[in-house]
Amino acid sequence: MTAVRRVDVLVVGAGPAGLATAARLAAAGAGRVEVLDRERQAGGVPRHCAHGGYGTWLHPLTGPGYARLLLDAADRAGASVRTGVTALDWAGPLSLHTVGPHGPETIEARAVVLATGARERPRAARLVPGTRPAGVYTTGELQQSVHLYRQHIGARALVVGAEDVSYAAADTLRAAGVAVVAMVTELPRAQAAPARAADTRLRHRVPLLTGTSVTELVGRGRLSGVRVRHRDGRTATLACDTVVFTGDFVPDHELARRGGLSLDPGTRGPAVDGGLRTSRPGVFAAGSVLHAVESAATAAREGAYAGRTVRDWLATGGWPDGVPLLVDPPLRWIAPNRVVPADGGRGERGPYVLRTSVVVARPVLRVSQDDRLLHTERPRTRTAVPHRTLTLAAHWTGRVDPKGGPVRVALG
């Protein structure tokens, strides 16, 4: 028989979202708050992002520095952060089977927060044909290899993708002494900030091949080249011993799926309302598992907000219904993806985040329900670009009819 232990709140995943949730709840006196992480160190993805860009303008931090800051805050607030413990499966509506070096344990909680994060789709999931040589990475594996384990990578690398994470991968490769042969994207332009893209192209002399897809990996034992094809039909083999598949994030939703939680078909993460409530009362979700992926700061802000709605649940036991929040093409997804009228009532909640599948200049977002226009917004972003954050304010939610049909967001 496995031991059963009770806590008040169980958070799965000690990345920015999970740690921020735990810190907020513990500080607010929510009782025993426990965070589980299957890795040996807490911190999530920032653990292996040695580059800057974390923290604030006044207190800039690297990823590992930011991870430490969040962990210290959760510790100081009195949350219990346990690493090397895996949440295996659900034991009941609000309890989980876990395992770690101390053996199996079932933990039962009054509320569960899923903050399990996201991962990049690897080569196999992208169905890239060819041989199966060594030297094939995702950014996550590359960064851990270089920054956590100081492993040898290779001499010449190709980066697949041209979004923020792709440029981070190129930086990591350079830091590891690997020459970046080129970056390739199927899209007509880079999807990172123009200054960053230009810096890599001009100062580091890394060519960006747009409109180009990877068609085959070549090499036995070790990668020797990558075949690519341009939209216009031209093909080439780029000689390299390393290839990094970047971006194309998917939520690590296995626990949500095993628990039978409703998933959003667009994000593929658990469907949540503005209070980050999933389809099962008492189960919340926050961070990149909801929207693969946003920045660590967004995840942490969302985690803190989840702390607030978890407290409401612990106090009142209320679980509002909400109506679905859908997007029309070319929008790919929106998160959260259910809406209750009270969602926008608190300034603390961040905006909705969305993604487009095509480049749209001067975008306008229109929100409607049953042909009734609720809100029109011109995002601050001058051009909506695939793989880049697009936001929608949440203050209109009070106009939603809770008995009405789905709310739709269209991009004009």
């Binding site: 991962r119 196999a124 995702t138 068609t215």
Partner: protein, 467 residues
Amino acid sequence: MTVTAHGPLPATTYDVAVVGAGVVGCAIARELARRPGLRVALVEAQDDVGQGSSKANTAILHTGFDAVPGSLEARLVREGARLLAAYAAECGIPVEPVGALLVAWDEEQLAALPRLADKAVRNGYHDAQHLDPAALYAREPRLGPGALGALHIPGESIVCPWTTTLAYATQAVRNGVDLHLNSPVETASRQDGTHVLGTARGELRARRLVNAAGLHADTLDRRLGRHDFTVTPRRGQLLVFDKSARDLVRHILLPVPTALGKGVLIAPTVYGNVLLGPTAEDLHDRRATESTAEGLAHLREKGGRILPELLDEEVTAVYAGLRAATEHEDYRIRAHPGQAYVTVGGIRSTGLTASLAIAEHVVGLLTADGLDAAPARDLEPVRMPNLGEAFPRPYQRAELIAADPEYGRLVCHCERVSRGEIRDALAATVPARTLEGLRRRTRARAGRCQGFYCGAAVRALFEEGRT
């Protein structure tokens, strides 16, 4: 216990050298190890056992219901299935008796089912049963629309091909067989009644020779002056879907062979994944194990008809294997008495199932030809690490973790592989020498993230454990 991968080969003259450490070669070496006093070498070109066709098959333990009645293959598959099922239970090789359905999608295939049922009976298999569409969809509710019926073969099972090969090799080595890796045979001659094999690691001498070289069996045969058959590599590309797909399918879904070809199958794996494949492409290049865009598109098109929801699941692996097809229908297992030589050629995908029976048959041929061997003894059983989801994995065993917390420290999260299992695989009788070898022994890095989370940590443990 001797496993070598570098340096010159021993100067000793072996009683028997088996060339090729695939599933068949390892089974033969193990069978020879049952004869006390024999000096046996198992010679492998690559850096691990099971590195050729054996690592990339469809992982099915066949009943032999559809073999050519009266053929050697039919007999050895039938006997081998029984032997391997018992051996698997003894060693902890994961096997799941899920049964197979030959699903008919058109009138021609439906018409072929009674013939296949009749063939099954002629092969000594009496449990085949026809299912009408209602019974078929009751068994496989997620099957795509339009199936007209099926033949149910309850005796077909799924098995772990990697553990099987490794169990044979482990037991052979523990009982005195010398395993020499990285030793491709480049020349073969006979001097004063002794075979002299010129390998990349120098000469190896043996009084008798068994050719279990798989895709290269005809090349070795020719070096010994035999022209019995020609291997035409037949490439099979396969897609492996994530564990979340496992609930979509309950049986092995086999295609009905017709004049138009064999079609593709969908099968659960003992690791809890779903397999879609294989393609069948006749090639000339015996190293062409790459996948192609056309092959993958073909598989997805076929798979989408059989099990539409499968295509929504993530693919965790794409691989291609080469079957050692020949111009002959049957296995080519021949003793050449004057040459103290046995050829084991043309072993196709049924070779995994038949392996133990092939081994008994081959050792029988050797003794008939005068191999002086003591009666077979029972070997001390080996206990293999369990990779199968139908049996308790180390992370699920409280008593194991209590005794050694390393089994509770998970490294590969998608496949739930512990540090303890990785440590064991690196220190085993036939240890993992590469990350690929480690993956086949533990499943580390074989899951949906393909190393995003664990790749660097697994590599660190590998480098650490190897030194």
